[in-house]
Symmetry: D4
Subunit: 222 residues, 8 copies
């Protein structure tokens, strides 16, 4: 066996099966999809290059494609309305791919999602235009490249968790997203927590989990 079925994860209701396409050989990826699709469960394939997505859509026409997010996915019919509110913001037009990956992932975990893009710190009015969203969301995903300052500024304006995602957008001393990553790790806003560079998926996943906790009736612990 090259890939094992994650039977344990299967048991967890409401979580999609997730496959990271990048780094997998074509035959491996197709084998995994062939095995996974018959199962009656949501499915998300991340980091799928454009040509690869096209080829897979031919083979698996039941999949949807979000080209900006570079994702393939299948959602099983569901009577459950999206709940809560996850806000997804990003600093520049070029960060949209990562932001969309986060938004799609959070949606697949059952969240209602609102996005607000191109709101970098060099023009604060663009961020403040989203004041209503800033006041109502349960949790924030904030993607930014270059100096990665946007999560700190958002963190100072809200009293909810902020999931920061550095992107590899930039050049020179941005070092493929390292500058943004370090900036976010050193955020002076205490409510900021950080994901790997370009990991919109992880950010959307954690935001989805928090949103679920926030929007459901709290369990009786103890």
């Amino acid at each position: 066996v090259v890939a094992r079925i994650d039977t344990q994860r299967e048991l967890r209701h409401g979580f999609p099966e997730v496959i990271l396409a990048e780094g997998k050989r074509d035959d491996h990826l197709q084998a995994i999809l062939t095995r996974a699709l018959p199962h009656d469960r949501d499915l998300l394939v991340t980091r799928v290059a454009p040509e690869r997505a096209a080829a897979l859509l031919e083979l698996f026409p039941q999949l949807h494609h979000n080209a900006t997010a570079r994702c393939l996915y299948r959602e099983t019919p569901s009577d459950i309305e999206p709940i809560g509110l996850v806000a997804v913001l990003c600093a520049g037009t070029s960060d949209a791919a990562v932001a969309e990956e986060a938004a799609l992932t959070a949606r697949m975990l059952g969240a209602r999602v609102q996005t607000h893009y191109d709101a970098g710190v060099a023009g604060l009015h663009r961020l403040l235009a989203a004041h209503e969203l800033l006041q109502t969301a349960h949790v924030f995903v904030v993607a930014a490249g270059m100096e990665g300052a946007l999560p700190s500024v958002v963190g100072g304006l809200v009293d909810k968790p902020v999931i920061a995602v550095p992107t590899s957008v930039g050049y020179g001393a941005s070092f493929g997203g390292l500058s943004a990553l370090l900036g976010m790790l050193n955020s002076c806003s205490a409510n900021v927590t950080v994901q790997n560079i370009d990991n919109g998926f992880g950010a959307g996943y954690v935001a989805g989990l928090i949103n679920r906790l926030a929007a459901s009736t709290p369990p009786a612990v103890d």
Copy 2:
């Protein structure tokens, strides 16, 4: 003026005033405390070296001292019971300082907290002994130094957010916590999100926010 009063934060109810002692001169720190203490609000001072803590306790006897966490704090009387459940785990005895800082911070944000220390991945039975805690907590703080693998393992066992905190425990190629930090950022468990090296405070703060969302009745968004 050297330090400004954060009037905006004052307004946010149930959040302590937090002061990072490290890097501040003695006279600046005392001036800030003298100004802050009359206010009727919880207060947390982090990263206070032992001798410094002793000197400040003489000057400000109303403060408490958590020596392991290297924190001074004051809690204002409160009728509100701690709510929810935050789990704080760490890998080795040497990570206890960071874990305690997280536990104390979460408590000051109103959370009920349970800790489980010295549960590193080289002896998994030590982690599995905490299975009940793993099943009931709303959110997890997991501190680890060296290779920082514990958050990934915990993340695979629970379906809640895991706040990973790398610690500077280790030597040689641990590079002051960098190895643990990178390991956590690259976690293959999708529910893991990361704080700065040794930032127990930030981890406890985010965990406290999430716990609050989880344990309160959800607001009516929309």
Copy 3:
């Protein structure tokens, strides 16, 4: 002379001649193979890109090709049965190339080899399914990318040497395998030792040497 014959190595019985293809010009590589093949000795060519392998197979039809491992090789007829037991594990489907390179190398040093792939730490049950292998092998090769935590977990479950191989699988702050490498170097399991990033060959080689020591009758030292 561009490449010297390693007469000393020739003398060591039971060791293959090994050639690292990557970085060598085509004419150099062909010259080396032309000179080496007449010798009555096992031969292993590592890191051969797919198209390059195809071209070489045309020229040297006596070679075998392991496409996953990216290796060409020739085994001389041998009456000796494989001995001992080397276990080769890896964390994800994408690490299979490195794991296969290790398995093939160990086999060429005379070892019996069993593999267990896709057993990453985010789903421990996948690893524990290999409990029999964990109890019987003399030595373990464990390949993992991203946070590279698997060798530590395996190391805690067995009392034999674990050869850890970081892979370049991952993105962002995985920095081409650096995160996994650092994680493995800082392993809290004392029986873990480390190879270069993607160096399945080196891991299989050392495992083969240890297996040989373990499976042969000990020499009388002193």
Copy 4:
């Protein structure tokens, strides 16, 4: 000769002689001061540790001491009023040493200087309180540690040059100021330019030069 007299610099009117104390042996430093003081020119000694400053003040009572800036200096009597306006801002109380060094240096180049400290991005109202200064200064020095986001935000609010100075304030992944440095170099505000970590002197010097250009009658080029 161990240290050469910079006769060329002597000729430039209105520039202080500047000596970097750190890294110099005591006897070298005293010899340089003994030689420099008879000259009828402003003098600035930077990065002088507290005890060292005390010892030098005993030997050279004609020097002044700015303890926060860690500088010794002598200003020759001057009929010239400070001109123009340099704004010096910093993010946190702990950045004050670097900010003061910048302010003192700019003053010694003849600038009128106004400071506004503890105005970090996690509480934007603290920055906006300085709106008048933001509108009137010719040039800005902005010092910040940790994620170093303040210069970007200031840069977005003003249409003048912003000299950003990363400070070594922070811990963990701040890596001694590296995070702040990288953040500032990648600033999305086009009017930001950067100095070495903790180099308040350099920032104040460049700001002083720009202020001089701004506040004097423009020369007739061509």
Copy 5:
């Protein structure tokens, strides 16, 4: 909305609208240009790859192309003569792209610009040939790759601000411009300040701002 109109920047007279092409998808870039061009304002598009520039010129024939600088731009008719003097120097022929980007940017901010290229420190006579320019310019942009020593040498010869731009020219331990960047940050010439690697745009922008301050009649502050 993917990209927001920077209405605030619009208000600032005499500043071009600037768009960073690199990292933007083709459709996004065209949408931004379509929206921006009707406005009666200068426009600068930076880091446009050659083929991309060709395609955009077909679509937007009102744009000019500076191939060396890799920029597209439109200048609105203006009665205002270029003012002041910005000097742009570079060390080697290969740094000309970055230097040209700086020169074009400064020109679009209204500056008179003179260039002096291929004046590296290994042959000082080439720099000294520009002595007249060294004496008359208000501000200097100095681009250099490899060891990046030229700004320090220029800084020692002039008493004006020097904007240093490291370039990614070099190989091996130049690490994509990192060596030049570090060299410039550690310059022993106090009048040197630094931009991101290859950021000719930022250098020209700051130089343009300083030149404007120098060449205009000083405002009456206070």
Copy 6:
């Protein structure tokens, strides 16, 4: 509980209980020793600073001290003779501390150990003087700082596993052992495998495991 008893490890016969002293508080360390000593098992405490060792010897007089190795230890009486042969080599006098730690650890795992120190590659005759040891040992531990070339040279002379340990000996671009570590990871000798910087303990542990496999009668696998 701050530290958990590793009951699982207890069960493994012939393995010492090992405690890493560095990074533990005094009270924690004493509590661990008080709890561990009554057990009838070998005990090894590593990385104990000299003064700390003195204080602990007063409290626990049953412990031995190896000052060069910076270790405290207790060996329970044993009828079993040391078996096999582990060779421990090092490059310079300054590497002796790490080498001794490895030798002591291997001895506690039951190995016969021979050492050969100060045999760096700049004078090969010093290494070749140990030719008998090179021919008879089952496994080699080779410690070296600076450029860390010794393991490669040893690896070329023997056909047994070589455990390389980089040490932090050196200055400047040795970067605390990083140079030696990288050199060893890139060894062109295929039998070399690597430990963390200064990790003599880990090297001795793995060498002890391999020696045990080599010197015991091979088990009947399958």
Copy 7:
């Protein structure tokens, strides 16, 4: 002017005009060659990619091509015999490009050159086969990738200067030649000095200078 004539260098007799092709645009490179060729002086063009070399040879048929060294060059007729002796060694077949560049450069500075390739430290007999060369050369160029240990070993065997050149040969933690570079900088052989990664040209140049000093009659200093 984009490129200045180095009139000063022209004056230095016996030194070739040297052009680094990499990083220059085609038109710039052709312009420089067109201007340089009429001069009656040796000419060396380094780091010329294969296709580029072919194109330039069509335009400038008077040039020679050394494909391994990736150089184009022209030698003016000369009555002077090569003098002295420069030895050029390298560790593996893949380092030959860098070694050849060094050999060609030294030859163009008038040196007699002997090469000895594929002599890595994992098989010392291959190096010792060159014992005569080791005893007679005035100066050594030693190129090696991976761990870069060869210069240290050569340095221990000779009492002449050794110019070490790290190459980018390797993978994983070789980090593009960084490992080899660091190893060489930390060489424990005192007679080793280091060039940039892959800088065979620089190594051959310095070796040529030293050889000239060694092989000429010493001038009467004083």
Copy 8:
């Protein structure tokens, strides 16, 4: 044996026995000196901290002390006059320790040495004052910290080998000498070759070797 006698080096006439004190324990160092001093040979002990030097001078009064160079040494009586000419330059007063170590080492290899200190590139006239030395020396040692630009400038003025030594002088992004090291490795002057950070000894040693080659009658090779 902890330290081996380098009998091979003994045989090389005119080379001192050299001991690196840093990193060696006191007892080891004393033992080495006790064994080495009876031999009739020059002796050099480098990197000796001031207090340590004082203690050793008490024990071994036959040693001399160069406090600036931090060296102890003994020169055996010699009838041979120093030969040739080595120039040792440095950029700032703080680099004098490294420069002196180089000068002393070169002298012990028999060279005549002239020094020229405090000649940094920010004031070129200070370097040009040494024009006579620049024209007559056989070889140059150039030490510089911060941006490390001096060797490039010297390299452009002379046609002899330049041994560049980066020093750890600087702060912030000088990263302990890394900036200067990288600058020197990327020098655009072809005659520059590089030593480890602060390695004045290595620079003086290589310069001494080259000077010996230059100042002796050339041997008849072939």
